[in-house]
């Protein structure tokens, strides 16, 4: 028996179009992805280049960068996400209408990149919002972003309308608002819990596996490591009053896990 696709293309050659609702929906969806005009750092320059004439994102139907999250269905997180910026990113994501997709562009958005060990950059935007496609690179070349868009399109092609993560009768977590983190004394907090503390690893894992539409929280990314958040104030108190020699000795004790 010929496959659906073979029959389909056979008929299309004769000017007859058959489709399933699913296929039609996915075709419409994937052929006009509207990204949000939203750049955070150097990667955004490459994103702009991708949208302009040389690389021409318009060939894939995604050239219409919108300045409002209400009119966009793709968020390209292009650049370094500082902790101070995360609440705004999550809020923008929440304001996008479903279906909505996220491309995490570059090392910074994916993992913190060169700033991963710093105090001010989140270690991956997927700690806060679900990411569909990751693009490695620092910065990724425009071709890589084009490839990410094509990957996203093939993911959209595989969507099943009945199981897609934002429709359906069952309560789907991803049609709810994602929790907007608040600023805490040691890092960003969700529901009063530290998410990405300064000085140790993230405590709550990412909202991963968006294809399955699941949302995981409160899981420890590296359960084999015991992590204790250091009391920075006490260390500061001790060390400022200690003499230089003691401070040198205590150097090794700064690191507490």
């Amino acid at each position: 028996m010929p496959s659906d696709d073979a029959v389909q293309s056979d008929l299309e050659q004769q000017g007859v179009f058959f489709s399933t609702l699913n296929r039609f929906y996915n075709w419409g969806r994937r052929s006009s992805v509207w990204p949000m005009a939203f750049g955070l750092a150097c990667c955004a320059i490459e994103m702009m280049a991708t949208g302009l004439s040389r690389y021409d994102l318009a060939r894939f139907g995604a050239e219409l960068f919108r300045a409002s999250p209400r009119q966009a269905d793709l968020m390209i997180v292009a650049g370094t996400v500082t902790k101070k910026m995360v609440p705004q990113v999550v809020r923008l994501y929440n304001q996008m209408p479903e279906p909505r997709y996220v491309i995490s562009m570059g090392a910074c958005a994916t993992s913190g990149g060169p700033f991963r060990d710093g105090y001010n950059v989140v270690r991956g935007i997927d700690l806060y919002i679900p990411v569909d496609v990751y693009v490695p690179g620092c910065p990724p070349r425009p071709e890589a972003l084009l490839h990410a868009l094509m990957t996203l399109q093939s993911q959209i092609d595989r969507q099943n309308l009945k199981q897609v993560r934002w429709y359906g009768k069952k309560a789907r977590p991803q049609s709810q608002d994602f929790p907007v983190p608040s600023y805490g004394p040691h890092g960003l907090e969700i529901d009063g819990k530290l998410v990405d503390p300064v000085g140790s690893l993230p405590l709550i894992s990412s909202y991963s596996s968006p294809m399955e539409g699941e949302q995981r929280r409160d899981q420890i990314e590296h359960p084999e490591l015991v992590r204790v958040f250091p009391d920075m104030e006490r260390e500061l108190r001790e060390e400022t009053s200690a003499s230089y020699a003691e401070a040198l000795e205590g150097e090794d004790q700064h690191v507490r896990r």
């Binding site: 902790k83 101070k84 991963r116 060990d117 710093g118 105090y119 001010n120 600023y183 805490g184 004394p185 040691h186 300064v198 000085g199 140790s200 690893l201 490591l225 250091p230 920075m232 104030e233 260390e235 500061l236 060390e239 400022t240 009053s241 003499s243 230089y244 020699a245 401070a247 040198l248 090794d252 700064h254 690191v255 507490r256 896990r257």
Partner: protein, 173 residues
């Protein structure tokens, strides 16, 4: 070119030092007010003008009024943990041209407080807030000394050398 420039800046520095010695002798900082650690490099050795921290406003105003350094370009802080002090570095320019005049001052790490220059150079406000935000240096007389980069709720001063070390690479230690 660079030789010319360093000659010029050395001349500027010596002129300014002589003028300060004549008119504000109490403002020049005696060397050796902070001990150098045994064996380590002496990071306090400098040919720049080092002034008393509490006199910085007087010095800056004197530079502006009498020596024509009317442009305060830069304020930054250095954490000299080994010497137990913070060093503040100020760069002044003359609008008629020429290299910068560097003025340094040192503060004990336990009580990093000195007068603000914001009342005299409003443009200093953000730079002083930055030094406060990242190093915890208190500028007395600053009209609005709040954090500027980190959020207000944040605790600690991340650019201090003894700020907790972070990152995966320290996990195995």
């Amino acid at each position: 070119m660079s030789d010319d420039n360093s000659e010029l800046s050395a001349r500027q520095r010596d002129e300014a030092r002589a003028a300060l010695q004549r008119d504000l002798p109490f403002a020049l900082s005696p060397s050796g007010s902070f001990p150098s650690p045994e064996g380590g490099p002496d990071l306090l050795a400098t040919s720049d003008i080092v002034v008393e921290a509490q006199q910085i406003a007087a010095v800056a105003r004197y530079l502006r009024a009498s020596l024509n350094y009317i442009y305060l370009s830069n304020i930054t802080a250095v954490d000299l943990l080994a010497h137990g002090c913070f060093e503040l570095v100020y760069h002044f320019y003359r609008l008629s041209g020429g290299p910068a005049l560097t003025i340094k001052t040192r503060l004990p790490r336990e009580k990093p407080e000195l007068p603000s220059l914001t009342p005299f150079w409003p443009g200093a406000a953000f730079q002083e807030r930055e030094a406060y935000d990242l190093f915890g240096i208190v500028f007395k007389g600053h009209p609005d000394l709040r954090r500027i980069y980190m959020w207000d709720e944040f605790e600690g001063f991340p650019m201090r050398k003894d700020f907790v070390r972070q990152g995966d690479k320290y996990l195995s230690e």
